[in-house]
């Protein structure tokens, strides 16, 4: 009978999760208008500095091992915070792109599709990067690079800018320096 109790509890929890996700999914469609305001900008230069292997090498050479591990852990925590924000922004951009995909203008629809694609890839990469950062926290001496997250973030930024310019040509979005 113990196994029945465990399975009943598991079924109730699963039902709760399914209903909660269903309600969230329905509400998600209704709250799309205020989405873009929730994007949090990231200082990419500071992020790049954090993930730079040469910075790590420099610190490793300069600091005693115990102090290096402490500093490395602090840097990894900061890195995790950046990656977390990048992942959160990616999720917001997926919804922004999905909302724009229904647009009648094929250029906007195409840009929106590209934005969702890039944002999904970024979201996937940030998830993997976060897992690796938490692993690296346990072994601070191990090497870790989140360069792909930064590169992907840049791709998503430029796609988002393109979509923004197509949707609202009046806004002076400077893309020329990127091309």
């Amino acid at each position: 009978m113990n196994i029945a109790i465990i399975l009943v509890i598991a079924a109730v929890v699963a039902l709760g999760i399914i209903l909660r996700l269903a309600v969230t999914q329905r509400l998600q469609g209704k709250s799309s208008a205020s989405l873009a305001g929730t994007i949090r900008p990231i200082d990419l230069a500071a992020f790049r500095n954090l993930i730079s292997p040469s910075e790590d090498d420099y610190l490793r050479r300069r600091l005693p091992p115990a102090q290096f591990r402490a500093v490395r852990r602090e840097r990894l925590r900061a890195m995790a915070a950046y990656v977390h924000v990048a992942g959160r922004n990616a999720a917001v951009l997926v919804r922004v792109g999905e909302a724009a995909m229904a647009n009648g203008d094929p250029r906007i629809a195409e840009a929106a599709h590209q934005l969702v694609n890039d944002a999904l890839l970024l979201r996937r990469n940030t998830t993997v990067a976060l897992a690796r950062i938490y692993l690296a926290l346990a072994w601070p001496n191990s090497g870790f690079a989140a360069v792909r997250v930064v590169d992907r973030y840049q791709d998503v930024s430029s796609t988002a800018m393109l979509l923004g310019r197509l949707q609202n040509p009046a806004v002076p979005v400077r893309l020329s320096s990127l091309s």
């Binding site: 029945a4 996700l21 990419l44 230069a45 909302a99 694609n117 996937r124 930024s157 400077r174």
Partner: protein, 255 residues
């Protein structure tokens, strides 16, 4: 009131499947069977299966052993069709986004394998509730299928929520209906398979049938009510964020 073979019992056994036949016909007329062929097959098969079982149950010349054998065969086919429906939902969700389709397929394969192992372990721990192997066996089989289905649906909905993937109205309705059905059926079949509520089994039958009725109504709502165009408006990206992004990118490029 809640007695086996009462009017309510007959109604709850037959009505959802009659509605299912109507739903299958309307799905066919609207061409949705081309989008969801496995779900359409499920609607048709489930209706045929339940009408057959109902007939076997009320015809006096049919032995209990024959009924349970038919029940076992039906539930095995139905179980595999429902797993096919979950695969179909997953395909619909990820088809437009190949960038995460591969990782999604790997994750769902891994989750499915883990759930099969878990369900096998749960089946091994069951103490049979009936001396007839085909009765206790069919209870255990139900429990096994529902552990896998329930787990896969939780994974599917969680995966979509994590990546903020938008569901098509029909696919969402199908997933919600099968999700509710799997959770409730898992709980009741787990109780039955493990010998619980032996003297009040009809309550679990009523609960199962009422839940199924509710799920058929959910499918009606999502498959046949036209999707509102509320989500078709464009969300404008705020210029202040874009300016900040531009500044950061330009600063990066100037280094």
């Amino acid at each position: 009131m809640l007695q086996a073979h009462s009017f309510l019992w007959h109604y709850l056994w037959l009505a959802p499947h009659l509605l299912q036949v109507v739903l299958a016909a309307m799905v066919w007329r609207r061409g949705l069977h081309k989008l969801f062929p496995i779900f359409f097959a499920y609607l048709v098969f489930e209706a045929i299966e339940e009408f057959t079982l109902y007939g076997l149950d009320v015809i006096p010349s049919v032995s209990p052993e024959m009924f349970w054998r038919a029940f076992c065969v039906g539930l095995i086919i139905e179980g595999f069709i429902k797993l096919g429906v979950i695969g179909e939902l997953f395909f619909h969700l990820l088809q437009p986004w190949p960038v995460i389709a591969k990782v999604g397929s790997r994750l769902i394969t891994g989750t499915g394998t883990a759930l099969v192992l878990l369900a096998t372990l749960a089946a091994a721990l069951v103490v049979p509730d009936n001396t007839h192997w085909f009765i206790s066996g069919s209870h255990i089989l139900q429990q096994t299928f529902y552990i896998v289905e329930c787990g896969l649906l939780v994974f599917l909905l969680s995966f979509a929520a994590y990546f903020k993937l938008a569901w098509d109205n029909c696919a969402f309705g199908i997933a919600l209906g099968i999700g509710i059905l799997s959770c409730e059926h898992l709980a009741s079949w787990a109780v039955m398979a493990n010998g619980g509520l032996l003297d009040r089994r009809q309550l679990l039958d009523f609960l199962n049938m009422a839940t199924y009725h509710l799920c058929v109504l959910i499918w009606f709502y999502y498959l046949l009510i036209p999707q509102k165009s509320a989500t078709t408006f464009a969300v404008l990206l705020p210029e202040n964020n874009l300016d900040i992004w531009n500044r950061e990118l330009e600063r990066l490029l100037q280094q």
